[in-house]
Symmetry: C2
Subunit: 502 residues, 2 copies
């Protein structure tokens, strides 16, 4: 870097770090809203989050950023491979996006997101879509406005999706999804043809919540989640927030479904390991942020499924579960648990879905949110469209909105163009897992004895530490030697599920 | 109000409400730091609190406030008894103080307070004052600077104390404290002369933390704390924060001291009832804030002691405790619990002290912080001075700093001039309680059957709803018909303790 540019770059970094301080404060307040805030705190919380979002956005659109960026970008001495160049590219992307959005819209969205999420939680508990409808209508309207600010010649959905996953668009996703859907449906047919599903009685054995929680903690500890730099709580909808030294996971407990609690903990734990694995020296800059939501999801799905639903994992965790949950576990071998956790059965709830049907849930949402954004589906007609989508994609009837279009928190908190990153995550996860197995041939033996450190070290090295240095496609190529493909995912599913069903 | 002044007043209120939104966000983040933040979150949290404190202070010193205030103050149509006039007086007091403090000092203090509190918690756990000393030295230095900005011709201690309690100063406190100390010491002599202390075995019966927590919740529910607008957690040092719809209490649990957990819950519950009883329409303005720390403490001490250590309270709570804590409680009558909770015995820890010796703990701190601020006591010499003070005031030897000068969180979070408000709180509480008994003759009967609503209604009417409308002295006169005096407190103690010891 040319000496005169150094000051500009340092100003960019310092400015961004200060913005991060405010944004992270907002994240903790949003976490609190979901985990413990008393009901009466809702109004004030919405205003707090609105004020912080407005300040963050104002800082993110400070015209000085444009000047600092210009100075850095026109510096011919800036090495394209350097940390500084990677950060400058990230800053540029963020600045160009932020400056397209008016402050008033950002502030109103932040308030609405906080309010609508509270309304959603009540409406979901009461299975009452009508109660949520006014918030949903306003949310769709504001998201359309937001998309119109950003889109240029793109569709609204593409504009919002690109915020979640750089480069993602509906056309290329559809090309990826159509054959994937066919292969998943074919595999489902083969399994159904066997006539008998794996026994999943274990998932209905009742266990005290405190025992389930202690099992979740033990699993998280084992896979390397650092509780000195994070915590685990419960919430209606499991999530992970925060980074570096303060990473917060949630899971949920229902008395008669310990596999759900454990699976959610492993999933959010995967997100948490990514956040704890970012380089602390880059905190508050693009190099200290996750590469994309799809890459983020690859980490959660890898730990949830490739580890947490593997035979080796249950070999390690069966005795652990016995010590945490009690003698009832004696009635189930590691292989029983492995089969129970891999039963394929079309179901109503995405986060409880098996690995095979999971992506069908995502595809329903992918279609619906495109229609909501382009105006061809009105918010009031969402339940009917949702139910029709489930009938078609999964062949099941949705009995109520709680288990239908009210099940997910995402739209209430303004996350549109987000769901397909879950499927991308599944594909990335399978491709990473296949590369890991090449590099670490005895992975299963390690996991069977509770040693997850080599896997974590691989992910730290190939994924976590890079932050946003590479775009998702490039990161995938560097980590696995190939462009993203659905093949490793389908091969993994075929191999595992045929074994489970054998 | 003159029509042209209305806009100025409205601007003042709106500006103050927006500031309150940021200040309340900081309060929740500070609560989180004490209740659940992972250790690794400390650095970022300090920076968050520093940033928010700087913004709050910058907003509080906005020169437009001075202009708006001048317009309001020069309006001859402003009715002195009106809400607006009361708010204008409050805004003026706050603005004049805030503008005396440089932004850099406020920001540095906020960061140091967050950091020093974390260091204090570690140092206290290790009973290692040397670890805390650098933070303490810096804190005293910055507090001296702060006091110098504010003091004018006053002493440093008086300048800081006036922030806690309008009108409080060392000279008048000394006049109040000297005879009080004599009367307390005399009463202690009388009780000691009886030779036998009340049996307090109950306070050492071990109970599970979860059972203790459920007893604390039941007591808080009974006295009227609204859990839809608040919550209860655990922390190293019990405290209460927040107001209106989101009031957060903490207590602490040690297995063999349920009286401590319950007493702390009642104490913080008294603070919480005050905050829940402020007028929501005045949120974010002086009329929506507590009158002073002394008045605040009167509410906590009234519920903790005048209610929670009364014979009638134990008559109600003995069966409640049996249902929450189990059969062991059967061995103790309501009168046994009453006596156990009123045993007088010089002890090391202020928050565990009986009502008689409590104020002697405060007086030690009152002397020490004056000396720290005027420079006659160096921070490094605090442990020795502390131990000497305890030897003289309470006649006991301090075995280690954990149970000595590291026991209280206050100095680590910048609270100087604060401790004497505890003794003022005791005096106000006794004077309020004596007035309540005049107005509600069958108070004990109500409490014995678990009906605390009439007492709460009295406090809501005479204290809570007024916010900062009156200064503490005026509020006391209006509520009780007399100026503050130590007589009701000493009379209450003499009557109760002689009965307990009979």
């Amino acid at each position: 870097m040319h000496p005169t540019t150094v000051a500009d770059y340092q100003a960019l970094v310092a400015h961004s770090q200060e913005t991060h301080v405010l944004a992270s404060a907002a994240a903790t307040l949003a976490w609190d809203q979901e985990t413990g805030m008393p009901k009466g705190g809702g109004d004030l919380r919405s205003r707090q989050l609105e004020a912080l979002a407005a300040m963050v956005h104002q800082r993110s659109t400070d015209p000085r950023i444009g000047e600092w960026l210009q100075a850095c970008e026109s510096d011919r001495n800036l090495q394209q491979e350097s940390d500084a160049a990677a950060n400058v590219r990230g800053f540029r992307r963020d600045y160009d996006r932020a400056t397209k959005l008016p402050n008033t819209l950002v502030a109103e969205l932040a308030r609405l997101e906080s309010q609508a999420q509270q309304v959603w939680a009540e409406a979901r508990a009461a299975s009452d879509y009508a109660r949520f409808l006014p918030s949903m209508e306003r949310m769709v309207f504001l998201q359309q406005q937001k998309a119109d600010c950003l889109r240029g010649s793109r569709s609204r959905w593409d504009a919002l999706a690109d915020l979640c996953e750089p480069g993602m668009n509906a056309a290329s996703l559809s090309q990826l999804f159509a054959p994937l859907r066919e292969r998943l449906v074919a595999l489902r047919g083969q399994l159904d043809a066997r006539g008998k599903r794996p026994d999943d009685r274990f998932s209905r054995v009742p266990f005290e919540e405190s025992a389930q929680e202690s099992a979740c903690r033990a699993a998280l500890q084992a896979i390397g989640f650092d509780f000195d730099r994070g915590r685990l709580d419960r919430s209606a909808h499991p999530f992970c927030t925060g980074s570096f030294g303060d990473v917060r996971l949630t899971t949920r407990y229902s008395k008669d479904n310990v596999l759900d609690a454990l699976g959610s903990a492993m999933h959010e734990g995967g997100h948490g390991l990514y956040e704890q694995g970012l380089c602390a020296e880059h905190m508050g800059t693009p190099l200290g942020e996750a590469a994309s939501l799809g890459i983020h999801e690859s980490q959660s799905r890898l730990w949830e499924n490739h580890v947490g639903r593997s035979r080796a994992f249950w070999q390690w965790s069966q005795p652990m579960l016995r010590s945490k949950l009690g003698l009832e576990v004696d009635g189930y071998s590691a292989d029983d648990l492995w089969r129970a956790s891999n039963r394929v059965e079309p179901s109503l709830i995405r986060v409880e879905a098996d690995e095979l049907t999971y992506d069908l849930h995502v595809m329903v949402r992918f279609e619906l949110e495109q229609a909501l954004l382009d105006g061809s589906l009105a918010a009031k007609d969402l339940p009917a469209a949702w139910n029709a989508g489930y009938r078609q994609a999964l062949g099941i009837e949705v009995p109520d909105d709680r288990r239908g279009c009210l099940q997910d928190v995402h739209w209430s908190c303004g996350l549109f163009g987000y769901f397909p990153t879950y499927t991308l995550g599944n594909l990335y996860a399978a491709q990473f897992a296949s590369a890991v197995r090449r590099d670490i041939p005895d992975l299963d033996d390690q996991h069977a004895r509770g040693d997850f450190a080599p896997l974590l070290a691989w992910l730290r090295d190939k994924v976590h530490r890079h932050g946003r240095r590479f775009d998702p496609a490039e990161l995938c190529r560097r980590a696995t030697g190939a462009a993203l493909s659905a093949d490793p995912f389908v091969a993994y599913l075929e191999q595992k599920l045929h074994a489970v069903y054998a």
